[in-house]
Subunit: 188 residues, 2 copies
Amino acid sequence: MLHPLKHHIERITPISDQEFEYILSHFTPKKFRKHQFLVQEGNAVPNDFFVVSGLVKASFTNDEQKEHILQFAMEDWWVCDYQAYFNQVNATLNVDCLEDTEVLCLSLVNREKLCADLHKIEHFFRRKSNFGYIALQQRILSLMNNDAKERYQQLLKQHPSLFQRVPKTLIASYLGVSRETLSRLSAQ
Amino acid sequence: MLHPLKHHIERITPISDQEFEYILSHFTPKKFRKHQFLVQEGNAVPNDFFVVSGLVKASFTNDEQKEHILQFAMEDWWVCDYQAYFNQVNATLNVDCLEDTEVLCLSLVNREKLCADLHKIEHFFRRKSNFGYIALQQRILSLMNNDAKERYQQLLKQHPSLFQRVPKTLIASYLGVSRETLSRLSAQ
DNA sequence: AGTTTCGTGTGACCTATATCACACTACTGA
DNA sequence: TCAGTAGTGTGATATAGGTCACACGAAACT
């Protein structure tokens, strides 16, 4: 069976087995258990993470201890505090596991080395980032243009599996509504 | 004096004069007057735009004719309907001029050609996209975590010049509040 | 096995912000 | 030069969604 990362990269650019071997050698596999942190607020962020299996969330917690979820990441998703990672400053986000999770870690040095060595990989990351940008623009529009119920229904349609794996409280804090409001919305 | 695009690229990667000549040859300069559209909803989006001078806005208008501004772009900013541009589908956004504006147009074909030919440029666009992604994440957090007044004050702090060049009504629809609410906020 | 803690629903009440309506000034274009 | 429109302020009112409080079953530690 194809390695999930190879499969993932080849959705954007074909690579040979040797190239993939070389790429993979820049990643470190790691396992985390539910409730463990991949990134913790206030700490350095040496790695970006490609999720091989499991489920994590990336979130910001404000002074009143209110948590806002920026992203869920499951199989085949990347997740990190990119602000901290790319600028090599301490994290303002937390990334933690909602399930036991296996990831491939990519340090910034290895990422830049890979990108410098292999033009294809720089291309891959550029495309990924472009798509990510577009997705975030759409989320901003949705926050500005749609009410809580519409956002809930959109998410349900786009990622139905999430609702099987994630408590509603967290869905609420991803959508930017209180859990009480979400509960009332989904009742109807 | 340095060409604004060369200056812009060299903030990320140094390039020789010959390289810049080659890069620039892939762009087409164009001038637009106030109220003209760079991108119009429903049309194809052949070009991405680098703003040399002037000021534009990128916005989405919903069925009730309510406009949400995704982005302002002035000197040294890039602007487009990237969803439409990268996926070669029709625009859902409008990009139009708030002032007379000069841009450099980059077609998708030329962009991909440049990226394939010149590794440095692919690197440049990857970095730009990374930073753009981070900025949008921060905007999402701000929409979820801050009230209208806080968002107003953040924007005022980050881009004071915008308030000299743009009517408050548009600032409001960038911030995701009604113009009336913004008026009451800025009164205090 | 028993006791916390987590996830969820639901009522009562509160508040930030939207909406509607009107007024006034300053451009803008025939 | 005059009409129309863009930009803005402000009062009155409406409402989506937040907050607080309580309840209850299910999961998870010890």
